[in-house]
């Protein structure tokens, strides 16, 4: 069973959508339902509605996977799946089938790898090692040259992050000699750490990299350079937590922050890919139970949250 949800649709569009979903029936290989109260497998976002986009951006990455841009015209918004207004059954079926298929095909072999399978972009980039890799989706691309420790991309900022969020089957991947490098004059090469950080943050999809011990204890040896995308509260919290003298396990991090494991894994993968993560075997003596919980009073937590909120809403 799969669930579809929406953000920012008019009442009329939402009613049409619910009716169409009810009628899909045998045309789909999975049974689809419209639900707002459970994690959705697909999300229809009215990108003509600025409030809807703002709401969408505040959702966790897990809730933003498989977002379908719903728009009057070609949206200036980096989402692969699109539906034009008004809603039409055939187009909705096509895009939902595409999502079903993408999920089915998540396990694909990485080009140039040692015939092992990878399921996420983060794994794919991690296993690529020191070579050159080009990831493309339509006319958007990223080229990562690990030997020169540089990358270039047609995208920047949030649109680069959106490109790196796609499920692995959606990329055309070429490596090594197959990569046609853009001419030096046409691109700006940048430090690869910025894109490796984003690959971990956006392209992990809840799966820890193969080289990372799930039961390990983690600590940062430095803070990340965040590159083109401003770090979220989640990222800053985890950076602070892993700056402590004692290394921490995933369960400790969950307990201390209340964050979902999906976000913690994205952070660990990003830190691992950028070389700022120290990992101790989980067999070493663990900190005492409860040591993970920072002793910050509710009043102080409230004050810090207000300062954070103020910084997120600058006044001019």
């Amino acid at each position: 069973m799969k669930y579809l949800s929406s953000i920012g649709l008019s009442v009329k569009d939402e009613n049409v959508l619910k009716s169409l979903i009810d009628l899909l029936g045998a045309r789909m290989s999975e049974e689809w339902h419209y639900r707002d109260d459970v994690p959705a497998d697909a999300l229809l976002l009215d990108v003509d509605n600025p409030d809807a986009i703002a709401t969408w951006k505040m959702r966790p990455e897990t809730a933003r996977r498989n977002t379908i841009a719903y728009s009057n015209s070609e949206p200036g918004f980096a989402l692969t799946r699109r539906l034009a207004k008004p809603l039409r059954a055939a187009e909705l079926i096509a895009v939902l089938k595409d999502i079903e298929q993408a999920n089915d095909e998540l396990a694909v072999p990485v080009v140039g790898s040692e015939a092992t399978e990878v399921t996420t972009l983060a794994d794919c980039v991690d296993r690529q090692g020191n070579g050159v890799m080009r990831l493309a989706c339509g006319d958007r691309e990223v080229v990562i040259d690990r030997s020169r420790q540089q990358f270039c991309s047609s995208e920047s900022g949030e649109s680069l992050a959106a490109l790196l969020t796609l499920p692995l089957p959606e990329y055309q991947i070429s490596t090594g000699a197959d990569v046609r490098l853009p001419s030096e004059a046409s691109v700006r090469w940048q430090d690869q750490k910025a894109v490796l950080w984003l690959v971990g943050q956006c392209g992990s999809h809840g799966k820890l990299l193969d080289g990372v011990d799930r039961n390990g204890l983690f600590r940062l040896n430095r803070w990340p350079g965040f590159g083109p995308v401003r770090p979220s509260h989640t990222v800053l919290s985890l950076c602070s937590l892993l700056s402590r003298k004692s290394a921490m396990g995933i369960a400790d991090m969950r307990e201390a922050t209340g964050l979902p494991e999906f976000d913690i894994i994205a952070f660990i993968n990003a830190a691992f890919l950028t070389g700022i993560l120290d990992i101790q075997s989980g067999d070493v003596a663990r900190p005492e139970t409860g040591a993970a919980k920072p002793e910050v009073s509710t009043e102080r937590k409230g004050l810090l949250a207000k300062i954070r909120s103020r910084l997120a809403n600058p006044r001019t």
Binding site: R222, P231, H233, L236, S240, P294, R300, L304, I307
Partner: protein, 175 residues
């Protein structure tokens, strides 16, 4: 209700006044005077008491931003300004002769305050000259048993100043 304040310190000319101006809701109150020492070659005026700016939170509570005078001879002011402070931002001017030594000097002088709170290091003007790599700043912190964020920042940019404060707030909550 006690005063909530964040302290910004650092080398003379690092941009403490500029950082406060970049994020404060009100024009910063400044206590500048003409430079008379060796700094006069690079800076016409310098802060002698403090700079002061403010942020208003959603419940109208104020967060005060205090910039210390940079020169070491005003050390007595540093001790006064940090009393009751939430945390410290250290700005290091990377065009100076030995930015690593500058950072260590501030870490040492504010060590008691930092031990109780936390600190964020902002490296400024890194694009203007050859400076030690970021890793060397982390090594220097590590040698003192510290692990604070080190950011390359442009203190004229509100976003960069906000990032330093945001990181400081996270440190206070989780580290």
């Amino acid at each position: 209700m006690s005063e909530i304040k964040i302290i910004i310190t650092g080398t003379p000319g690092a941009g403490k006044t500029t950082a406060i101006a970049a994020i404060s809701e009100t024009p910063p109150v400044r206590t500048d005077t003409a430079t008379t020492d060796e700094l006069s070659e690079v800076k016409e005026q310098t802060t002698v008491a403090m700079d002061f700016g403010e942020l208003t939170l959603e419940d109208d509570q104020k967060v005060f931003l205090y910039g210390t005078p940079g020169q070491r001879r005003f050390e007595f002011m540093w001790k006064i300004l940090v009393q009751g402070g939430l945390g410290l931002i250290i700005l290091v001017d990377c065009t100076r002769e030995d930015p690593l030594a500058d950072m260590k000097m501030y870490l040492e002088n504010f060590s008691d305050f930092i031990a109780e709170t936390g600190a964020v290091i902002g490296l400024v003007k890194r694009d203007m000259t050859d400076t030690p790599p970021l890793d060397e700043f982390y090594q220097a912190l590590n040698q003192q048993g510290l692990m604070f964020p080190v950011f390359e920042v442009d203190v004229r940019e509100q976003g960069d100043v906000a990032l330093m404060i945001d990181a400081l707030v996270s440190l206070l909550e989780y580290s």
